[in-house]
């Protein structure tokens, strides 16, 4: 058995027979090449469907590539063929209407999302989350669909999308279907997508008359979110407020904290209400122990970040005559 400790595409490798640790650069060992694979770029959904059906388990969908190519570099996956979905018109673009809401093509980049005027105006929590995602050059490539389909706990966009009750539109061999984003996750790196299915777009219901959201995270500049909380309040014309709370890196996948939300909607406003909601969110969390933080730390930070988020939102609401 050979033990690898990976750092990006480099690793320290332990060869037990020799009882020795050696530095290893997979990339150089391969003579500077990735493992060979084929590449296809369908230009219509029909063509994409045929390709996906033909390649089955050996094919991997390529969107922005910021996850896929990295996993190929690191030899975590060895696909036979990459199917580039950036040539599919149906997966592109952002559209918005006041009554119909927002539709995001799966291949919309994070940068394009954050720069879109209607998104900035009506769904500003998405913009806040986008600004936390990677660095500019990652945001310029990484896509909305990719950020969902990687199904990693620490992804930054899904908590905000969950707060806006996003729905995923999937297309597969059996046709089209829709699944609420909250039901799209089955585990870390596991989604509800069937083999051969594509995420075509994500839709968000029409914006509320007024909404305000906060996204607080623990992270060191440019690094992955260690733990995060998105909090959103929505008001129709009346005084009642609807709350949404969703967590990043606090469970095997992005998670809504339903009990905390319900508490905020029904309890008497005040410090005790905020404390209780933060506590309920902590209870909903099932964080992992890993190299970035312990589960205990993550859980207690969920409490802190949710409280901060709620307080920020309440301050905004009170500025509007709460």
């Amino acid at each position: 058995m050979v033990i690898y400790i990976k750092f990006g595409c480099n690793a320290i490798r332990r060869i037990p027979e020799m009882n020795e640790w050696t530095y290893s650069d997979f990339y150089l060992e391969r003579g500077g090449n990735l493992h060979p694979f084929d590449y296809a770029k369908p230009t219509s959904l029909a063509e994409a469907r045929t390709l996906l059906a033909q390649t089955a388990a050996d094919g991997v969908v390529l969107a922005g590539g910021s996850d896929v190519l990295r996993r190929i570099e690191e030899e975590v996956i060895r696909p036979q063929v990459l199917i580039d979905i950036k040539g599919l018109p149906e997966l592109r673009g952002i559209s918005f209407s006041v009554h119909g809401g927002l539709s995001l093509g799966a291949t919309t980049t994070i940068s394009a999302l954050a720069a879109h005027n209607d998104v900035r105006r009506h769904y500003s929590l998405l913009v806040k989350a986008s600004h936390q995602l990677g660095s500019l050059r990652i945001r310029n490539r990484a896509t909305v669909g990719g950020n969902i389909c990687v199904a990693l706990p620490q992804t930054d966009l899904p908590p905000a999308l969950l707060c806006y009750d996003a729905t995923c539109h999937l297309l597969g061999p059996e046709g089209e279907r829709t699944v609420p984003l909250s039901e799209c996750y089955k585990g870390t790196r596991q989604t509800a997508l069937e083999p051969g299915e594509l995420l075509v777009r994500v839709t968000l219901p029409a914006p509320a008359a007024y909404s305000y959201g906060a996204y607080h995270t623990v992270r060191q500049g440019g690094q992955t979110t260690v733990v995060g909380a998105a909090v959103l309040a929505r008001r129709a014309s009346g005084p009642s407020t609807e709350w949404r709370i969703a967590l990043a890196a606090a469970a095997p996948y992005p998670l809504r904290a339903y009990e905390a939300e319900t508490h905020l909607a029904s309890a008497e406003p005040g410090a005790a209400m905020v404390e209780k909601a933060a506590e309920l969110a902590m209870r909903a969390a099932q964080p992992a122990d890993d190299i970035r933080a312990s589960a205990r730390y993550r859980r207690s930070m969920v409490g802190v970040l949710v409280r901060r988020g709620i307080e920020e939102v309440i301050e905004q609401l009170s500025g509007r005559g709460r």
């Binding site: 595409c9 060979p36 910021s66 190519l69 990677g134 490539r141």
Partner: protein, 155 residues
């Protein structure tokens, strides 16, 4: 599998034959001799292989060469006009914004992209544009200063 691709690199139409699994970084460096973009972390983390791809900063190590078909690419080699250095390059030299120089091409490309969209960036905007570009020798103060000086010089 081999692919014929055509793209514009530093204003020159370029035709290449590339394997599916070749990264754009390798194609630029090894097939075209454009070694300004550096081969470093190969995982999108460090910023030393930055190029402009259809006007946006990206990591060349995280893109396949075949994806560049039809794209417009600018590498650090494309900043100077023949012998005349770009204002940014001159400012980097004048203000000692480099030591070993390994991160400089990435820094220059990111700064160049910034100046394309914001003509007189403030410090915060410069910091935001350079976020994720790692320098392991000088620290960032002189780099930020150089970008400010260059933006003034250019007008």
């Amino acid at each position: 599998m081999k692919h014929q691709i055509t793209c514009k690199i530093n204003d020159e139409v370029t035709r290449m034959e590339v394997e599916s699994h070749r990264t754009l970084l390798d194609a630029l460096r090894e097939d075209l001799g454009l070694v300004g973009a550096k081969h470093a972390c190969v995982s999108g983390e460090c910023g030393s292989c930055n190029i402009l791809f259809d006007g946006e900063v990206v990591s060349a190590c995280m893109i396949l060469a075949v994806e560049a078909d039809g794209a417009e690419i600018i590498t650090v080699e494309g900043l100077a006009e023949s012998e005349r250095l770009h204002a940014l390059q001159k400012a980097f030299l004048d203000h000692n914004a480099l030591q070993c120089g390994f991160c400089s091409s990435g820094m220059l490309v990111s700064s160049y992209a910034l100046l394309q969209s914001v003509s007189r960036p403030n410090e915060q905007e410069i910091r935001a544009a350079l976020e994720g570009n790692l320098c392991r020798c000088t620290g960032y103060a002189d780099i930020i200063k150089a970008v400010q000086v260059a933006s003034r010089a250019r007008r």
